[in-house]
Amino acid sequence: MSKIHLIIQREYTTRVMKRSFILLTFLTPLFFAAMIILPVWMSTLKDEKEKHILVIDQTHQYINALKSNNTYIFDFIDQPLNQVRKTHKKDKKIAAILLITDDLLKNPAAATLYSEEQVNLETKSYIEGLLNEYLREQKLASYNIPDLDKIIQDSNSKINISTIRWDEEGKEKQSSAELALIIGMISAFIIYMFILTYGSQVMSGVIQEKTNRVVEIIVSSVKPFELMLGKIIGIALVGLTQFFLWIILTFVLLFVAQFFFSNQIDMSMLQQTNQMAAMPAASMENMGNTNILVVLQSFDFVQIGIYFLIYFLGGYLLYASLFAAVGSAVDNETDTQQFSFPLTLPIIFALFVAIYGAQNPDSSLTFWCSLIPFTSPVVMMVRLPYGVAVWEIVLSLAILILSFIATTWVAGKIYRTGILMYGKKTSWKELWKWLNY
C-alpha cells in the first residue's frame, strides 16, 4: 500500500494547482462575505435619506393618520394641486404629493400619489399601511364600543414564543428553532453540493485516465484498487482543503470588514442582519427579541462540526466509489448518463427530504432517511442542530461506514475490470458479471 501516497499526492497537487480551483476557492468567500455585509451596509445607507411628502387633504380628516417619523415627513398644505406642483417642481426633497379628495371610507380610490419620478413601492405601501390602519380604527370606533382604545391596544400586542430546550442534565437552554433550521439547512446543502461535485470529479478523473490509456501504465505498477482509493482520497482532501479555506477566508474577510466599517456597524448588528437575511419574514420579529449570543451558544458547534466532517467523508466515500465504478465502465463522458442518473437520484431525493425535514425533524420519513446510508449524510445534518438521540447517530454512522466499505469493495471489483475494457457499451448485466470475475 506504500504507493497510494504517491497517487494521493498527484491527485491532490494537480487539482489544487488548477486555476479554476484557486479562483473558486478565493472568490467564494468574497461572495459569502459580501452576502453578509452588503445588507448591513445598505441598511445604513438607506436610513440617512429623509423623504418629504406633501399632503393635500381636502377632507381634513387624516392629519392624525399620517404621522411623520425619521424617514417619512408629512407636510400638510392647503393649496390646489397645480399650484403645489409649480412651486415645488425644483424641490428635490419632495418625494411625492399625496392628494386625498374624499372620505376614504366611502371612496377607497380617493387617494392619489403624484410624483415627478416613479414613486417607489416602499413609500407607496408605507402610506397605504398608515391609511389602512387609521381606517380600521375608525371603522371599529363607529361601532361605539366602550373602552375601545384599550381593546385595540390589547389586540395589537404581538406574540413572541421563545423556545427552550432541556439538555441532558435537565437544564434549560434558550434555543432557537429558526437558527437550528438555518444551521441544518446550510450544512445539509454543503454536504449535498460537495458529494455531487467531488463525486463527479472522481468519475471524470477515472474516465480521463481510461481514455488516455494512462491507466494501463499505472496498473502495471499499482493495483487497480490502490489507484481507485488513492484517487478518491486525494480528491476528498481537495474538498476538505476547499471547505476549510472557505471557512477561514470568510471569517478573515468578515473580521476585516468589521474593522473597516467599525464606526458604522457593530458586530451584533451584523450578526442580526445576517440571521434575518436568511430567515423567513415571519421569524424576523422573533429573532429581534431573542438574545442572539445566548442562542448561538446553545448550539454545540464543535460537535456539529465534527459530525459534519464524519458525515461528509462517509457520504463522499460511499458515492465517490460508486462514481469511480461508473467512470470505469464507460468509454467517454457522454456515456455516463445511464449509470450516473440512478446514482444522483438518491442524493437529490435526500436534499428534498432535508428541506422537508428541516421543519419536521422528527417525522418518520426524516428518521428513516437519516439511517439509510444514501440519504443519511444530508438528512442527518438538518436533524442534528435540533438534537438527536445518541443511539440514532451511532446507528446511522455505523450503517454509513459499513455501507461505504461495501460499496468501495463492489466498486473496486467493477473498476478493476472496467478500466481495461475498451470499445464496448456496458450494460447493467455486464457490470453484474464483472463482480464475479
Binding site: 491507466v215 494501463e216 499505472i218 502495471s220 505498477s221 499499482v222 481495461l420 455486464e430
Partner: protein, 306 residues
C-alpha cells in the same frame, strides 16, 4: 530453467475465450516475439504477465516461482495504446511513473537526466505532454518504461508511430538493453523486426498457440528447399535440383534452384561445381512474413473446413 514460464493459461471473457491453454517459455536474456493477428489474445496474455488480470487457470512462473504483484516492479511495460497525462509536464510525469515503480525520487531524477540527455530531449522537461507530437510522446513513454532497469521488458508494438530514424534508434536501444542482461518480450506485426531481433517466437491465433520455437529453426522447417546460386556460367538442371529462374548479372549468372531430392547441400554443390565455378551460394528461407501469413490463413482455412 526458463526465465519466464507461462503454463496452460486459460482466460475466458463473458462470451469469448481469450486464451486457450497457452504455454510458453522465455529463456533469460533473449528477445521473445509474441506474434499474432489482431484480437488473437496477445494483449490478454501480456496483461496476465503484468498481473493486470488473473488467468482462470494456469500459472505464470518467474525464475521458477509463481509471479506475484511484487514482481511487477521488475517488469517494464510499454502498452500498445500509449498513454500519458496530457496536462502534466513531461519531467514531472516521468518522475511520478518512476516512483510508482518503486524508484526513489533521487534515483529517478538521475536516471531521467541520463536518458533525456541520451535522447537529446532535455528541453522537453517542462513541456506539457499535449504540446508534444505523437512520436515525441512515444519517446518519453519508452524512457518511462525502461527507466527502472527492469529485468523483464514487455513492448507491445514498440515501433508504431516512429519514423525510420527513430525506429532504428529504438532497435539499437532494445539490443543494448538485451546486452545489459534484460529479457525482452516483444509483440508486433512488423515481421522484419522479428527476424532481426527475436530469438524465439510464439504465434498466437484464435486464442491458441499455433507456432512456437526458435526463429531460425522455424524458418528452416518452413524451408521449401530453394537456393540462390551465383556462378560464372549458366547452370543446367541436375540430378538433385531443377532450375526455377535464371538471370545474367554483371560478371555472373544468378540462378534460383530447387532441390528435388533430399541430400546434403555439399552434394548439391558438388553437382553444380562439375558444371561451373560457384561465386556464391545461399539458402532462400521463407520470411517470417510468409510464415505468418501461411500459418494464420492455413489455420483459418482448416477451421472453416472443420
Amino acid at each position: 530453467m526458463p526465465f519466464l514460464e507461462v503454463k496452460n493459461v486459460v482466460k475466458q471473457y463473458a462470451e469469448h475465450l481469450a486464451l486457450n491453454n497457452v504455454s510458453l517459455d522465455v529463456p533469460e536474456n533473449t528477445i521473445y516475439g509474441l506474434l499474432g493477428p489482431n484480437g488473437a489474445g496477445k494483449t490478454t496474455l501480456i496483461r496476465i504477465i503484468n498481473c493486470m488480470t488473473a488467468p482462470d487457470s494456469g500459472t505464470v512462473l518467474l525464475n521458477g516461482k509463481p509471479l506475484t504483484f511484487e514482481d511487477v516492479r521488475h517488469i517494464g511495460y510499454l502498452p500498445e495504446e500509449r498513454g500519458l497525462y496530457k496536462k502534466m509536464k513531461v519531467g514531472e510525469q516521468a518522475l511520478y511513473f518512476a516512483q510508482l515503480k518503486g524508484m526513489s525520487r533521487h534515483d529517478a531524477l538521475k536516471a531521467l537526466k541520463y536518458w533525456f540527455q541520451k535522447f537529446e530531449i532535455q528541453s522537453w522537461w517542462n513541456k506539457k505532454v499535449e504540446e508534444l507530437s505523437k512520436g515525441m510522446a512515444q519517446k518519453v513513454q519508452f524512457i518511462i518504461t525502461i527507466l527502472h532497469e527492469p529485468k523483464l521488458l514487455i513492448f507491445d508494438e514498440p515501433f508504431s508511430g516512429f519514423d525510420p530514424v527513430n525506429t532504428d534508434l529504438l532497435k539499437q536501444e532494445i539490443l543494448h538493453l538485451k546486452e545489459q542482461g534484460a529479457t525482452i518480450i516483444f509483440s508486433t506485426h512488423n515481421m522484419a523486426s522479428v527476424e532481426e531481433l527475436c530469438e524465439n517466437i510464439s504465434l498466437i491465433h484464435r486464442s491458441k498457440i499455433v507456432l512456437q520455437g526458435n526463429v531460425a529453426e522455424i524458418r528452416a522447417s518452413f524451408s521449401n528447399k530453394t537456393f540462390k546460386v551465383i556462378t560464372r556460367e549458366p547452370v543446367l538442371d541436375g540430378h538433385y535440383f531443377e532450375l526455377v529462374h535464371q538471370t545474367r548479372k554483371n560478371g555472373g549468372v544468378e540462378s534460383i534452384i530447387k532441390k528435388v531430392e533430399a541430400c546434403n547441400n555439399n552434394i548439391l554443390l558438388s553437382e553444380i561445381l562439375q558444371q561451373t565455378e560457384i561465386l556464391a551460394f545461399e539458402e532462400l528461407l521463407p520470411s517470417m512474413n510468409d510464415i505468418f501469413i501461411e500459418t494464420v490463413s492455413g489455420h483459418s482455412k482448416n477451421s472453416i473446413e472443420n
